[in-house]
Symmetry: C2
Subunit: 451 residues, 2 copies
């Protein structure tokens, strides 16, 4: 921040004062003790505590002494309503899991009610764990958008497309009409960004892929897809297209900055270069990839190739936590052992993927991902009095290897305090739990009837 000694203090709405401020700006600047001044929904300044105190007069001050202050985390890939299926079925091959458990449950139970309560549960879990921005791909996305907006989150809500009727009961034409309404309703909202989501190359054929891409260009919205998740997918696509999934998308003209591609586990060096050149946002979902036995994505190589990498939790049916600290931790750890290289993904790289990297992958780095003047005030405070964060030699090390979602104490999104000293202000969590349990009881009863 600039010196303002000669000027009178400027009024701001809020100052977060004290503590260790980890900005995640390009130089990884840390202020200790630092402060963040917020005006409206934006960051007015970030700097040393005493300078900010001298330059700004705050209507309200949040005491961050003994806290770590950092940008809100970015969950780049999830299916929030699937919290409803958390732990419904595990330890199964992917096709059995999908065909015998998840899809039948979706066909039978999916409704706006299910989607609303599942989204609110996921929203509560994310906010409590420091996630302020998400990218969702599912059905009934207008209900996802409304629930996430009510919860106070920032996010991309991408309506899912399949060649066949979706679990929402819409054929392609009906789904296009629904998505256009979704876009019309939410475009321009300060926190919710509508988007289109062809599910994957193996469920959406080239004409629909091209049509959705054209629609995304026309409306200037993101395009979200699952890409190169399993070895089996690669084999299927090779048989159908005579090319790998990434090359098939390149041929279709879809590899551009608008695309947000989840997984990319099975991508070779040439494909990584295509993803980097295309400025595609790639979302690494390490815990889902582990649990579903997809394999281990070549993250160190993708980082070296300049791919825009973020992190995602995937849905709670395949993780089973919507916990971005756990993803950052997994991203920092697993590649080291698989490559027998303790430097494979350093702490700073993992924290970048969880914050500014994820923002860049979602095309939102001009708004979020770091604490810098002019960006939206999406800020989280971690409690440094948690045993696992004591002592503290290096903040980035703690964020990658020691911090837990439960250490998050306070969360601001778009300048609003949504979680304060672990009290969630935007939701009635007891009611959310009650509704989710009631809906889950029906799903469990169906399981017992058709085991």
């Amino acid at each position: 921040m600039q010196a303002t000694a000669a000027q009178p203090p400027q009024p701001v709405d809020l100052v977060i004062a004290g503590g260790i401020v980890v900005t995640m700006d390009a130089r990884h600047t840390v202020y200790n003790p630092g402060a963040v001044a917020v005006r409206g929904n934006a960051i007015a300044t970030v700097g040393p505590r005493d300078q900010v105190a001298a330059a700004y007069r705050a209507a309200r001050t949040l005491d961050a002494s003994n806290a770590l202050v950092m940008p809100g985390l970015v969950n780049g890939h999830t299916h929030l309503p699937m919290t409803m299926f958390r732990g419904l079925a595990d330890d199964l091959p992917l096709d059995t899991w999908l065909q015998q458990y998840i899809w039948p449950s979706e066909r039978e139970f999916l409704s706006p009610d299910h989607v609303r309560w599942g989204t609110l549960l996921g929203a509560a879990e994310m906010l409590r764990g420091g996630v302020t921005t998400f990218c969702d791909m599912y059905f009934f996305e207008d209900d996802v958008a409304a629930a996430a907006h009510a919860a106070g989150l920032r996010g991309i809500v991408a309506q899912g497309f399949l060649d066949f009727p979706t679990p929402q009961g819409l054929d392609v034409e009906q789904n296009v009409a629904y998505a256009e309404q979704l876009i019309a309703r939410w475009q321009g909202n300060s926190r919710i960004i509508p988007a289109l989501a062809p599910h994957a190359l193996y469920t959406v054929s080239p004409p629909l892929l091209k049509r959705l891409h054209a629609l995304a260009v026309q409306h200037d919205v993101p395009l979200v897809i699952h890409l190169a998740e399993t070895r089996n997918e690669g084999q299927q696509i090779a048989a159908k297209y005579g090319a790998s999934p990434v090359r098939a998308l390149a041929t279709l003209g879809l590899l551009d900055q608008r695309l947000i591609a989840a997984h990319c586990v099975w991508v070779d060096a040439e494909e990584q270069a295509l993803l980097a050149q295309g400025r595609v946002g790639v979302i690494h979902c390490p815990r889902s990839n582990l649990k579903l036995a997809d394999g281990v994505a070549p993250v160190p190589d993708m980082l070296a190739a300049g791919v825009r990498l973020g992190l995602g939790t995937d849905g709670a049916a395949s993780n089973n936590q919507i916990n971005l600290f756990a993803e950052a931790d997994a991203a920092a750890l697993i590649h080291k052992a698989v490559r027998l290289d303790p430097l494979a993904v350093p702490a700073a790289a993992a924290v970048e993927m969880a914050t500014i990297g994820g923002a860049r992958a979602l095309g939102l780095d001009h708004l979020i991902g770091s604490l810098e003047p002019g960006k939206r005030a999406d800020v989280i405070l971690l409690d440094l009095d948690e045993d696992n964060l004591v002592p503290l030699y290096n903040p980035l090390s703690h964020l990658a290897y020691a911090a837990r979602s439960a250490d998050v104490r306070t969360v601001l999104v778009d300048g609003q305090v949504v979680l304060e000293d672990r009290r969630l202000l935007s939701l009635d969590e007891a009611e959310v739990r009650h509704q989710v349990r009631a809906l889950a009881a029906d799903i469990a009863a169906r399981q017992r009837a058709h085991p």
Copy 2:
């Protein structure tokens, strides 16, 4: 439990009533709603809530409705005082990390004070995360024992041995005398078990290994060692012994039920059979193995071979959390992706390793590891109102994939309530943090002086 309808209620000290009781007995019995009756330091009965209520009259009742009740977790390998070095240095090759950071800091700073406060911090972190039993290997183990005992934990405290003088400043003869005093002081204690710990094959020569084994037999105490942790260790031992680490120990006659061997990352099928036949306790430390880039232990093969497997956190300098839920989660997840097999380590196997499996590996399964009448009352309660545990279809799935250390609400060790509704009753945590930070400030100052 047996029907007792005709008898008058028997008096007990405590009943934990309601909730989902996951016993981890041989049949994985779950009572919902269940109850656990405690008399003195032992479990009097476990069963359906209403039957227990009818059969026992409790001096005190703990309400466990909307909790998951399970045996306390077993952390089979750690170095508690190393919490003092948490995050001091990461993302380094093992030899640089040890030789330039950890060993110089140990030589300069290790003292009874450092060990006491570091142990208390690790004890607080473990209790808050549901760990009731640990196995420690370090120096000044009498101070580790005293601190852990004061914290209310159950544990094995194994005095570390090297061929050369230890960071405690003791040569081999002095260290043997120290260890014999440790044994004399603690043997027979209800919670603390003294033990001997030759550090590893590459730091302890055959004569001392044999001598410590004989001493362990003489005093009937466990023997704790690091074994087959890195590929480099295998190469070193092969050059020195003409055999792999496991085969070298077998030749020395050390592979028996007394031995607790941490890591075992690099063990082939024949070595796994030797470990199983010898009834050696093997402690899988997945997060440490990942972070130090040791590799991925062949856990599915070891389970199939009948090796007695538990889980360990290792020290906080190489993890950086003393969090057994994170270890169980890692153990359940990583092997699936490395083997491209979603069934590699099922949820139940991970939870077993964290409880009864760990107890068996430490030779303590007659006392702990499951909720069964006659065993010690080491019991933990998880809060099922945490978002990440909603909804609940399958308790074992949640324990492996969704539960977090922070979900632990209440902990009993040896019949005593040590953590109650997240208040730690046995320690002044603020004082522990204050003391650890003061000692860590000196270590950080040294780092800055000798970077």
